[in-house]
């Protein structure tokens, strides 16, 4: 699979938490090449299944979330400016004078407005209540095309940086989706150790709500959640970040299955897949927090890779890290090297 092309196609779709359908449909279309019974449920969760053909095979759930952070329209003022709230936790500091689209009855273009320095009392970073969307129409005109609850996204774009680095909106977690699709591509036609269930889940950013529903339905024995983690930047703490290009990050946490984490680490070593260990001494803040305790419970591990500028519209990822993650998933699910 061409990971770059898939990432471009996926990041061009909008899917702010709770309104993922545009992205969900695109993902479902890509998943259909690899899985059976692909469907999009009422919440926007996309699921599909691949049977290994063995009797009594265990089910391995591969999860990545389809939603991304964004804004939601909460009010239209008398001059037609829109007040907004957050879906998830976007970095509001990055929104001043951004070019945005309001996803109303049609796409409405606008600009993020805030009090200019000569009017605001200090130069503090704006909070969500300080910004509004300037759509250049009156309240009456706005009400015809925009409804309260419509989502707002930044008009960013897919940028190729040096080497294998890509910057785009919603890399969190469309790149995780890409890693799973690439793993399925590697596994195509190969024998599997598990029955695979794939879930591209909705509403992770608002509290792993989609995964909670889908995992209950799937009742997997084991699950791997693929999500993004923190990449090294000059202003970050090296202890809390990984270098881009350092490979897949294997999760260790009291909420994850130690056996699975160890097995994945051994497998990465054996298969020469670049990796680091990501230690989370509390919850993981990924979908595994919910998947592990959905229904009868499932053994879980996280596979992540580092991105820079998380929760902004210029999230930056190394394609090689997505590829390393895909290879490790494929080895775990299918034992490609042993086959």
């Amino acid at each position: 699979m061409d990971i770059k092309a898939a990432l471009k196609a996926l990041t061009e779709e909008t899917g702010v938490s709770g309104d993922e359908f545009s992205a969900s449909r695109k993902v479902a279309e890509l998943l259909t090449q690899y899985a059976d019974g692909v469907s999009v449920d009422d919440f926007g969760n996309v699921t599909g299944f691949i049977k290994c053909g063995r009797p009594n095979a265990k089910t391995l759930l591969l999860d990545a979330h389809i939603d991304s952070v964004g804004l939601i329209v909460t009010y239209i003022d008398e001059k037609g400016f829109l007040s907004v709230g957050t879906c998830g936790s976007p970095d509001i500091k990055t929104y001043l004078a951004q070019s945005v689209t309001v996803h109303g009855k049609r796409a409405v273009q606008g600009v993020v407005s805030a009090l200019p320095p000569h009017v605001s009392k200090d130069n503090k970073a704006p909070e969500i209540g300080d910004i509004s969307i300037d759509v250049g129409i009156t309240k009456e005109q706005a009400e015809e095309v925009i409804s309260l609850g419509d989502r707002v996204t930044v008009n960013s774009r897919f940028r190729e940086l040096c080497g294998s680095l890509i910057s785009a909106p919603a890399v969190d977690d469309r790149s995780g989706v890409c890693a799973i699709l690439e793993a399925l591509d590697i596994l195509k036609g190969k024998s599997l150790r598990y029955d695979l269930a794939v879930c591209f889940s909705a509403q992770e950013e608002t509290g792993s709500r989609g995964a909670k529903q889908a995992a209950f339905r799937i009742q997997a024995d084991e699950a791997i959640a693929v999500d993004v983690s923190f990449g090294r930047t000059p202003d970050s703490d090296p202890k809390e970040t990984a270098m881009l290009g350092s490979g897949v990050m294997i999760g260790f946490s009291p909420c994850l299955d130690k056996g699975m984490s160890n097995a994945l680490r051994e497998l990465a070593k054996r298969c020469n897949i670049p990796f680091t260990s990501e230690v989370m001494p509390d919850l993981t803040s990924t979908n595994t927090d919910e998947i592990a305790v959905a229904g009868k419970g499932a053994k879980c591990c996280t596979l992540s890779f580092p991105i820079r500028y998380m929760h902004t519209s210029v999230e930056t990822v190394d394609l090689n890290d997505i590829s390393a993650t895909a290879r490790l998933i494929a080895e775990y699910a299918g034992g490609v090297a042993n086959a």
Partner: protein, 337 residues
């Protein structure tokens, strides 16, 4: 009109790097005399149907705000400074284009990893960096040598009820009005200075005004409008949709009272919407021009603009049309003085 404004705004030309804009303008004006001076100002003379008693000069600046690369670190991240007055907030989470054509982005560590103090504070340029994805210093320096420029990678579009959004509308809008004045066959002879380095202290205009030595100058600009949510009364400064802005005073100039009145009378007599600024703020090339040599009677006609010096300058095209119409009528009006 919109297409040509778009073309002009998408050209990258920060202070000191105006060549692309200058060449575009030079190729697209039909003047009687055109030359580039030592600083890079493009100065044109266009004969009209009549010769005025006084020497008249129009001025608009070609440069925009941007960034200059100051260093690269061992991991390939670029340090940079602002060229012109930019609020660092409008650079966060933005894409940039390097002079070499390489793409980059500006960000900070993730919101999750920021302390509560960091979340509340807009970083200074000294704390920010451009990420072009370079793996090490040499790779970064090759694509972005010290002293090279970077620009907002910003879209340009029409939206809402006749509004336009883009970078560098300040002051390509003024440049476009001057290009049209030249090409439309003006009533009076006049000089036209497309100036450099306005954003770093109206430096080009100093030299241009000396060279042309006008008696009367009309500066065509964009000016801050704060007619946004949460701002009322005088603090709105001026408003989009209310026409051309003629200022009586800003931070760099107390404008010629006679010309100020003449602009208002001319606009009113011809049904052109006109307004003034309700706050003494900002400044433009007038500051350099009106004190040039023995003094120059100066007025400024501006397009009101929201979010100046950001990748999303916003103007209303009806205001642009008003500025254009008033500029043409002002040439005739001052030609008769």
């Amino acid at each position: 009109m919109l297409e040509r404004l778009k073309e002009l705004c998408l050209l990258n030309g920060a202070s000191g790097d105006e060549a692309r804009v200058r060449e575009f303008i030079r190729m697209n004006i039909r003047a009687d005399k055109v030359f580039k001076d030592n600083l890079g100002n493009l100065i044109a003379f266009k004969k009209g149907r009549k010769s005025p008693k006084h020497k008249i000069m129009f001025a608009a600046h070609m440069d925009e705000v941007g960034f200059m690369i100051t260093d690269a670190d061992e991991d390939g991240f670029l340090s940079f400074g602002a060229v012109g007055g930019i609020n660092p907030a409008v650079t966060l989470g933005r894409g940039v284009t390097l002079e070499s054509g390489a793409s980059g982005v500006i960000g900070t560590k993730a919101i999750h990893q920021q302390s509560s103090d960091e979340r509340k504070k807009i970083p200074d340029f000294g704390d920010l960096y451009i990420d072009i994805g370079a793996a090490f210093r040499e790779e970064a320096e090759q694509l972005a040598p010290r002293g090279s420029y970077a620009y907002f990678d910003a879209d340009f579009f029409e939206f809402g009820d006749g509004f336009v959004k883009g970078k560098a509308i300040d002051d390509r809008a003024g440049c476009l009005v001057m290009m049209d004045l030249i090409n439309d066959g003006p009533e009076y002879d006049a000089w036209y200075a497309f100036t450099v380095q306005e954003e770093v202290g109206t430096r080009g205009a100093k030299a241009a005004a000396f060279t042309v030595a006008p008696d009367i100058a009309v500066v065509l600009e964009t000016t801050t409008a704060c007619d946004v949510a949460g701002v009322s009364g005088a603090r709105r400064v001026c408003e989009l949709g209310k026409g051309a802005v003629v200022s009586f005073m800003d931070r760099s100039t107390v404008y010629d009272r006679g010309l100020y009145s003449l602009a208002f009378e001319t606009a009113k007599a011809n049904g052109i919407p006109v307004q003034t600024k309700t706050l003494v703020a900002g400044g433009n090339d007038s500051g350099a021009i009106h004190v040039s040599a023995g003094g120059v009677r100066t007025c400024a006609i501006s397009v009101p603009c929201r979010y100046l010096h950001s990748p999303s300058c916003v103007i209303k095209m009806s205001d642009f049309e008003a500025v254009k119409a008033l500029a043409e009528l002002m040439l005739s009006a001052v030609g008769e003085l």
